[in-house]
Symmetry: none
Subunit: 217 residues, 4 copies
């Protein structure tokens, strides 16, 4: 998943390796944001964890804010990549895509303590850089587009009067439910049930598309 080109695997990067240094700083930053939150992710802790020198951050990212933006973008892209990867292994019908997307979003690899803390950590910044707000403000981007396209496909097939609106509502609700599940997971990690979450979301979808999903999918 990480640097294939780095001959020394993923430990401390070698002395002259600008790209390795960038990656090491981003990884250290994400680790810290997940563990301690954005405000406690200090320059000192980042460089200590990355095993690099103090000036490195300003050399590669201009300032701490720049590193934070790069880290948030990296995290957001990892999320989309991971969901898309899981979708590839699923079927290709719209209904299969939607169910697979929901399952992927609730899977251990996408929803875990680290990611739940990262989403909320970045979202907790009240006046975030627009860049951070754009990529971590809500789940969205590629995943949302994929789901919306599948819903539109279903709605059109069904011959509804206003398929665009149905698809939009379905997407809006599904994404909101996933957001809400993530918040619930963060607050109640011990008792949170992935299967309960999945069942509730499918009940919502089934309510909108009764022909395409069985009540007990």
């Amino acid at each position: 998943m990480t640097d294939e080109t780095d001959p020394q695997s993923d430990s401390k990067p070698s002395r002259r390796d600008p790209e390795g240094h960038r990656q090491a700083l981003i990884t250290a930053t994400l680790d810290l944001v997940a563990e301690r939150g954005v405000p406690d992710t200090t320059v000192s802790r980042i460089i200590e964890r990355a095993g690099l020198s103090r000036g490195m951050i300003h050399l590669h990212f201009k300032c701490k804010e720049g590193l934070l933006i790069a880290a948030a973008r990296h995290f957001s892209e990892s999320y989309a990549t991971e969901v898309e990867t899981q979708l590839v292994e699923a079927g290709s019908s719209p209904a299969e895509i939607i169910v697979a997307a929901v399952r992927a979003d609730l899977s251990e690899r996408v929803l875990n303590p680290r990611t739940a803390r990262l989403w909320h950590g970045f979202r907790g910044i009240t006046n975030p850089d627009p860049e951070i707000a754009a990529c971590c403000g809500t789940r969205g981007g590629l995943v949302k587009e994929t789901i919306e396209a599948a819903f539109l496909n279903l709605a059109t097939t069904e011959g509804q009067s206003n398929p665009e609106r149905l698809a939009r509502d379905a997407t809006f609700g599904t994404m909101a439910l996933l957001e809400g599940m993530c918040a619930d997971y963060l607050a109640n990690m011990q008792t949170f049930s992935r299967s309960d979450a999945e069942r509730v979301i499918l009940r919502f979808i089934t309510g909108l598309f009764p022909r395409h999903f069985s009540p007990k999918a």
Copy 2:
């Protein structure tokens, strides 16, 4: 909501008014958390905004953390109070209660830039005081109980095989949707539509209780 007994109206509290000072500090803190986030809510800014002296915070709340906890609790209680207030004006049937609760939660008084930022600001603290986590980790408490009771009422009436589970799913989904709407509102304040949000949530509820809600409630 402010000092009825204070002869000098509700502006700056008089020199000897412990309770007024406590309230002033909590209000200033909530204002700042909403405007600038938790980490930028410094003691200096709080006392400047409250127009009080530096030592006051430690006198009344022992430390800044204590004030933050008191503020979070106050905010959480205000939320519940506001929703309950709006429920009083609604009908008394389970379905009416549920619809009213959703509408209240999406109303201007409950969901606005200040509250959306406060929820996420407090939630963004990665290792929060348990007290803060308990009251701001997710919408819950009184509102959730009210909704769950109403759903259970409907589910039992309907003669479902497992009414408890249906009520639990309905509550879980509704709360998750409200959470997700709040996150969406925070991320897209300009384009967010309260009516779209309400319609989507009612579609979810209608899917689970088709007899009690009309498709276009």
Copy 3:
């Protein structure tokens, strides 16, 4: 040893008892200086321990410094009183008085963790109030005068050429040794030996007055 007039023994003084309040504050101050040193003896800790109100200190002693002076003086007087008390039980010959004074000064009641810390605590104030310097700068006062008188008695009897100087040297040396022993006690409480200390001081005295003290006194 304390307030004979207080009907409620030595616990918290009653509501209207100025003298009891003075004593309670002094005792609390000495306890704290012994336990935590002068700099950590704060007004808050003093009033908490004495169970009195904040304004009390400034009411009875004008300021914290005034209380500290009163406490130092009280401690110094307690030291002299205790030594004199032990001397009363001793013999009345000059040699007996001297040996008894040394023993008293090294006794558990006079040299213990509390007193060793109090002497050094007050002495550690670099620019002390002259009053504190006078009473806690070095052991002195009454005890020193008693010893010097006894030495002078011995020296005169012995018919030395310069009895005043001999007495002065003996007193100077004995007091210095007692000071040194106190410092050693503070630094090495576990290993300090009162009998070793006494033997060494008596060796010093025996060296100056071989006729009046046996080598193995």
Copy 4:
């Protein structure tokens, strides 16, 4: 004693000179402890006197306590070094070494207002860091060992029944006297007489080793 390699003499150290900065901070700290005592030796005063920036203390010593420990150790080492230096110029017989050590300890360079205040300032910390207690709790270390070895040499030569105990008593008494003299010096700088102090200490030593010291050494 100062930077031989620094081309800009020994005034303010150059912008990049870690070791010089360390020394400057230690010197400033000792000056202040001597002038105002440990509690009034604040970070602000230290950096003002050293002409360095605020963060420097925490950069080189981690915290104020760390600087204080380093300063105490430096002071303790300076004391031992100074006494040893003066001993080199003295004779090499045990008796000469002892007399020289006493004289050195009472000399202007070893016993002066600054050092007397430093000993008592550091000793006045009631719950000192073990490191500070170890090096400033009592005169000791190298000087004590040197004196004890010399006394043991004398005691063995003299053929006493228990030479170790005699040497121990002599060392204990001499060190205690030197401690006591230092306390007396601190309390009575104007009237303190180095020659009186020396005479009294030699009287003690002469009493224990009459063959090796003349009564009026």
